[in-house]
């Protein structure tokens, strides 16, 4: 496959791995955190972890959009799905995430109209095809998905679609990175910064983290060679005492990012405090509708009741998301919690850390 196979060249990958293995390190352990679910999965799918020298530890952070969605937001989505005449539309795995006592998936088998869509505009299409129904899109995800949702909202206004609204549980990544560092729970020597999110926010968005917190940041692509190169750049920075933003993923990411996409987000949404699973409320880390667009806000359209959230007592998704616990250290891992019967979102999502450990991790080939 053109444009991808070049970044999967086994010979080049082996050389990069060999070079990393031959290096001597000034520290016993260098901890690099990836904060993108797609990176987590790419690392597992290529079997990269076991090929790296033991000094380099890759840890997963809060990079899975489904996983960081707070339980209360899942409960609200479930509550919305029970309103008469409502069609819930959402992306992928969210439907399977257990809330306090149910999931959208289960509600669907009970009769709720929950539809998985591949693009936000599909949700808008469903609204136009069902003018007598209320169509709510459950908007989750980072800066990557927010522009598409903003575009759908803009389109809805243009077309005069009255029965379409968005429940916005969007998250912004840089505030979460700062919150992680401020909490000082986890030692991070460098960030493998996300590829897709950075296409929108630009590599420049990490400058504050690099400069103020003295943590090296490398924006990295998703193919095995990209990740190996990203890791190499981070190790170079750590070993030479630098803390800068570098961009390994130049073929997609610029320093400024996608200005038009950000403008679109900014037109419709404004930053707001937001609750993250396992991390609590992080200031200005979410997106809420600006007043002029309130009529598309599902939270305005439907008076939400106070929701009493009940977390599964044994679930350690919060700790896993903060990088302070490995999935395998959770008492539920493989013991009652599996991708099929998930107790927490990190096991549900195809990008979740627990799911990745469950699905892909194996002993090295004999």
């Amino acid at each position: 496959m053109k444009y991808l196979d070049e970044y999967r060249d086994p010979q080049l990958a082996k050389e990069l791995i060999e070079r990393l293995r031959r290096r001597t390190f000034s520290k016993k352990e260098i901890r690099l955190m990836e904060i993108c679910g797609t990176h987590t999965v790419a690392i597992f799918r290529s079997g990269l972890k076991e090929l790296l020298p033991p000094e380099i530890r890759l840890i997963s952070g809060p990079g899975c959009p489904v996983c960081v969605t707070a339980n209360e937001d899942i409960d609200r989505a479930i509550w919305l799905s029970g309103k008469p005449g409502v069609i819930i539309t959402t992306f992928g795995d969210l439907a399977r995430v257990p809330g306090s006592s149910s999931s959208l998936h289960i509600e669907r088998s009970r009769g709720a109209d929950v539809r998985i869509v591949y693009a936000t505009l599909d949700a808008l299409r469903i609204a136009r095809e069902n003018p007598d129904r209320e169509v709510i899109f459950i908007g989750i995800g980072f800066e990557t998905t927010a522009p598409t949702i903003a575009a759908a909202v803009q389109q809805a206004r243009k077309l005069g679609v009255e029965n379409f609204s968005v429940f916005s549980a969007h998250k912004l990544l840089p505030p979460a990175m700062r919150a992680l560092l401020d909490a000082r729970e986890v030692n991070i020597d460098g960030f493998i910064c996300p590829g897709h999110v950075s296409i929108v926010i630009g590599a420049g968005a990490y400058r504050e983290v690099a400069e103020n917190y003295r943590i090296p940041c490398v924006v990295t692509g998703f193919e095995p060679l990209d990740i190996l190169q990203g890791v190499t750049l981070l190790i170079d920075q750590v070993e030479s005492g630098r803390a800068e933003v570098e961009n390994q993923y130049r073929r997609a990411v610029t320093w400024e990012g996608n200005v038009a996409a950000r403008k679109l987000i900014d037109e419709i949404f404004e930053p707001a405090d937001s609750t993250w699973r396992g991390m609590g409320v992080i200031p200005k880390s979410g997106l809420r509708f600006r007043p002029a667009w309130k009529k598309f806000d599902a939270a305005e359209r439907f008076a939400m009741p106070d929701i009493k959230v009940r977390e599964h007592p044994g679930c350690k998704c919060g700790e896993v998301l903060r990088g302070i616990m490995l999935p395998t250290e959770c008492g539920l891992f493989r013991k009652g919690c599996s991708p099929q019967e998930p107790k927490g979102p990190c096991m549900v999502s195809s990008e979740g850390t627990c799911g990745a450990y469950y699905r892909y991790q194996s002993a090295p080939l004999r």
């Binding site: 290529s46 079997g47 088998s109 591949y118």
Partner: protein
């Protein structure tokens, strides 16, 4: 959080479906033939060996690039018979029609079925038709059952894989699932992805002529190659190793999977056969496959090992290793 209600993923071909089948159907209908969990049951009647199977088709959309529900209903059942080495002879067809279905659509489906049975060399010898009120079914469901005769000397079953065997496939993986998904969701790529839906009995016949000692044949339908190989690994108590660089995936299918965040290993096929063959016969089988129109791009994609029984592992391009699990839940596109 078990709500006591059937969930959609219990029909997706993966782990959830297996658990439902094990917990409910196998224990209720318990008998040795059913417990073998093969694509079709092989039994003796009057000195001859017969194979029998049944399958229901509920695909949406009814028509997709490379096929439709009618041809699929023939191919699927013919293939389930062929996967035991049987020569398929007769099939039955049950139709559940939703009130309001376009008669022209039904005509197209039936014509396509008729073409498919002719091409596969089988006959439809019994049928049933029901119409249900609008909304009680989705346009058209078809059930087909099939019966075939198993030539003497063949012993092909999911439990027969042995360490040292090689894993062959007759072409690219994931074509059918991506064709249907792209059609259903209106996703357009440069070229329309075609389903691989085909009757495999002719190909299987040629493979068995070349080497009758084939251990396992399986068509990796729902749940894809990954799920089917996991079933075989469990049934045979062996490990299976795949080589990532050897996995045959068409460029357009790989591209669509990349865009949607899907893994072709879990995407359905309807015209593919996985053959697990002793190393001594692998060359003969592979060249027989390549000589058939449905096997031109056949290749070796893995091996059976004694390590890690019940598991499928993949050696990645860059030299790493990972588990290839059964499909769990539904395979869903990524969102980021």
């Amino acid at each position: 959080m078990d709500p006591g209600l059937v969930q959609l993923d219990q029909g997706s071909g993966g782990r959830a479906m297996h658990e439902l089948i094990d917990a409910l159907f196998l224990s209720a209908f318990e008998n040795p033939l059913l417990l073998e969990r093969n694509d079709s049951a092989v039994f003796e009647i009057g000195g001859g060996r017969l194979a029998m199977t049944t399958d229901s088709y509920v695909i949406d959309p009814l028509f997709f690039p490379g096929g439709d529900i009618g041809s699929l209903a023939v191919h699927g059942t013919v293939n389930d018979l062929a996967m035991r080495g049987a020569k398929p002879l007769y099939i039955t067809a049950g139709f559940i029609l939703e009130e309001g279905l376009l008669v022209d659509d039904l005509k197209r489906v039936v014509a396509s079925m008729a073409r498919a049975v002719r091409e596969a060399g089988v006959q439809v010898i019994a049928g049933d038709t029901k119409v249900v009120p609008k909304g009680k079914a989705d346009k058209l469901f078809i059930n087909t059952s099939g019966i075939g005769i198993v030539p003497a000397g063949l012993d092909i079953a999911g439990a027969n894989a042995r360490p040292g065997d090689l894993v062959l496939i007759n072409g690219t993986i994931g074509d059918h699932g991506m064709a249907v998904l792209c059609k259903r969701e209106g996703l357009e790529f440069e070229n329309e992805i075609q389903s691989d839906s085909a009757a495999l009995n002719g190909l299987v016949e040629r493979m068995l002529e070349a080497f009758a000692g084939i251990h396992v044949l399986r068509d990796p339908t729902r749940g894809g190659v990954a799920t089917t190989l996991n079933e075989i690994a469990e049934q045979s108590g062996v490990g299976i190793r795949l080589f990532e660089e050897a996995l045959p995936v068409r460029g357009d299918v790989a591209g669509a999977c990349e865009v949607l965040g899907l893994d072709p290993l879990y995407v359905a096929n309807e015209g593919k056969v996985l053959a697990i063959v002793p190393a001594s016969g692998a060359d003969a089988v592979l060249s027989a496959m390549k000589s058939h129109p449905l096997g031109k791009s056949s290749c070796l994609m893995g091996e059976v090992v004694s390590d890690d029984p019940g598991r499928v592992l993949l050696r990645t391009r860059i030299g790493g290793c990972r588990i290839v699990d059964m499909l769990r839940g539904e395979q869903l596109p990524r969102i980021c």
